[in-house]
């Protein structure tokens, strides 16, 4: 005969069991299998079950793989920085200068295109940036340039496409942070004689850093793992890591290498997470 507390625990387990089992079966196990596969090798069209770190050694040996990782890191860091610089003033204006009754509308408007499918969004930027697209035609029409600019299929195009998306995301997280803060800190600082710039630098910025960091981490994760935006906008001139992973899966059918590259991608994201979490904890302490 079970006692009441034990019976409660059993009931609790039976409620949570399906979700845990699902997560283990379709998330943990696939991840473990992928990790094991990254130690195997593809030789002559067949996958051989060896146990070696060859795929990882090859990553650091083959310059094009390492280059893809570095490209990805460069683009991601650049995108994160530009997006923060654009989004912060936007979030601030909406939170502090737009009248209360219009704020919600202003915010919804600012993030509405966030809900475009990312395939469609990248295609839309291709339309804008194409050789005979809107921007080139407009600049030619005004007479600023004589020759169309090569905007599509460049790293610039990839960065623009990414920044467009992440400005919206960061505006949301920073706005939430600013609203939560309320106007009292700013008022107190102003009463004590701080000018606008000092209020921003010594009061607002430090207090909203957690919001910025959360947004920056989300940006980092989503940006470094995205295949579509660089594939559609960046073209094949300069590959980013997800493009190289997809090449291994598709054209080369080299799943072990794809698995190893994915594990490395995971490692970078985990490292970023650890740094962010640690920094936030230090900040709070």
């Amino acid at each position: 005969m079970m006692d009441a507390a034990r019976r409660e625990t059993v009931k609790g387990w039976s409620f949570i069991a399906p979700t845990l089992l699902w997560t283990v079966a379709f998330f943990v196990v696939p991840f473990a299998i992928m990790a094991v596969m990254s130690l195997w090798k593809r030789i002559g069209g067949k996958i051989v079950q060896t146990w070696s770190l060859d795929n990882y050694v090859a990553f650091f040996g083959k310059s094009h793989l390492l280059k893809a990782m570095l490209n990805s890191l460069e683009v991601t860091v650049l995108v994160t920085l530009i997006s923060i610089l654009l989004a912060y003033p936007l979030a601030w204006i909406i939170a502090e200068r737009v009248p209360q009754r219009w704020q919600r509308l202003a915010l919804i408007l600012a993030i509405l295109p966030f809900w475009t499918s990312y395939v469609v969004r990248s295609y839309a930027w291709l339309l804008v940036l194409a050789r005979n697209g809107v921007i080139n035609q407009a600049l030619l029409g005004i007479g600023i340039i004589d020759e169309p600019l090569e905007l599509a299929s460049t790293r610039t195009a990839t960065v623009i496409g990414f920044v467009h998306f992440f400005v919206m995301l960061l505006t949301l997280t920073i706005y939430a942070n600013l609203v939560q803060l309320g106007p009292n800190y700013r008022r107190a600082a102003a009463d004590l004689g701080a000018n606008g710039l000092q209020v921003f630098w010594y009061v607002l910025l430090p207090l909203t850093l957690p919001g910025i960091m959360v947004g920056a981490f989300l940006t980092f994760v989503l940006c470094i793992g995205d295949y579509i935006t660089p594939q559609i906008l960046g073209g094949n001139n300069e590959l980013l890591l997800p493009q190289v992973i997809m090449l291994q899966i598709g054209r080369r059918a080299d799943l072990p290498t794809a698995a190893a590259l994915s594990i490395l991608l995971m490692a970078v994201v985990t490292l970023a997470y650890v740094l962010c979490a640690r920094w936030l904890r230090l900040e709070r302490a």
Binding site: W22, V120, V221
Partner: protein, 261 residues
């Protein structure tokens, strides 16, 4: 001076909004192009490309596939998220923190990696790729989301009502289904529609895990190989419209209720 600042801020606001809306406007505008290329000069308006989309059975099939995958996978994700949130909020279980971390872990992993892991696993298990495998992938990405939303809404104020139901003779399953779930219904609907939106827009998992039957984003991707085409604009505008309708629906009907409570 003050007026100058306001002017500068308004200018900045206008510039960023213009940047945010530029691609959307160009996409929608040129979907009404009557010529064969979605580039200036604008001619039309014409609905010929919308007709072309609706008479393309590959696209209409893909649209139905997308709706099917999105609705079923979101329903499953909501259910899994809800029972997990209920269990962790209402029962004392060992390792709650670890379980929470495990269930929300997929949120921090790139879709590409989740897709590749499932692809390798299904390959080894001899499961062939289909809409079902795509649905499994979408449940994996959406369950943590539903869980996080519903867990945050499981407040202590509902416990007394649940206790009352139990005193009146309801068993645990009945309490969950007839008392807790209705109380959380706005949150459940919000989680469901958010999942539907994510599944509806998702590309990479659907691309890796589907074979003959494709979802709409995958079909649009294959349209892109033919270069710039007003037909892609038309179907892209339709996809955007559906997402917007779902998001606005959530905003107007559901989130207001959640916040008001």
């Amino acid at each position: 001076m003050r007026r100058l600042t306001t002017l500068g801020l308004s200018g900045y606001l206008a510039a960023v909004y213009a940047f945010i809306y530029l691609p959307v406007i160009v996409l929608v505008l040129f979907s009404f192009q009557s010529g064969r290329f979605p580039i200036p000069p604008l001619n039309g308006p014409s609905l010929r490309w919308y007709e072309a989309v609706l008479s393309d059975s590959r696209l209409t099939d893909a649209l139905l596939n997308s709706l099917l995958v999105a609705s079923i996978s979101s329903a499953v994700a909501c259910l899994l998220g809800f029972i997990a949130a209920y269990a962790l909020a209402r029962y004392k279980l060992p390792g709650t923190g670890f379980q929470r971390a495990l269930i929300t872990a997929p949120l921090t992993v790139s879709y590409l990696i989740i897709g590749l892991g499932l692809l390798i696993t299904f390959n080894m298990a001899g499961v062939s790729r289909s809409l079902l495998t795509v649905g499994v992938g979408h449940v994996v990405i959406n369950t943590p989301l539903c869980f996080a939303i519903l867990y945050s809404l499981m407040g202590d104020h509902q416990i007394n009502i649940e206790r009352a139901a139990r005193d009146l003779g309801a068993n645990d399953l009945e309490v969950m289904a007839y008392v807790t779930a209705p109380m959380l219904m706005p949150g459940i609907i919000a989680a469901f529609f958010l999942s539907v939106t994510f599944s509806w827009d998702e590309f990479i998992i659907a691309f890796l895990l589907s074979r003959f039957d494709n979802t709409l984003p995958v079909e649009i991707w294959s349209l892109l190989r033919s270069g710039l085409n007003p037909k892609t604009n038309a179907v892209g505008s339709l996809v955007f419209l559906v997402s917007i309708v779902m998001v606005l629906f959530m905003e107007i009907i559901v989130f207001r209720k959640v916040i008001r409570r």
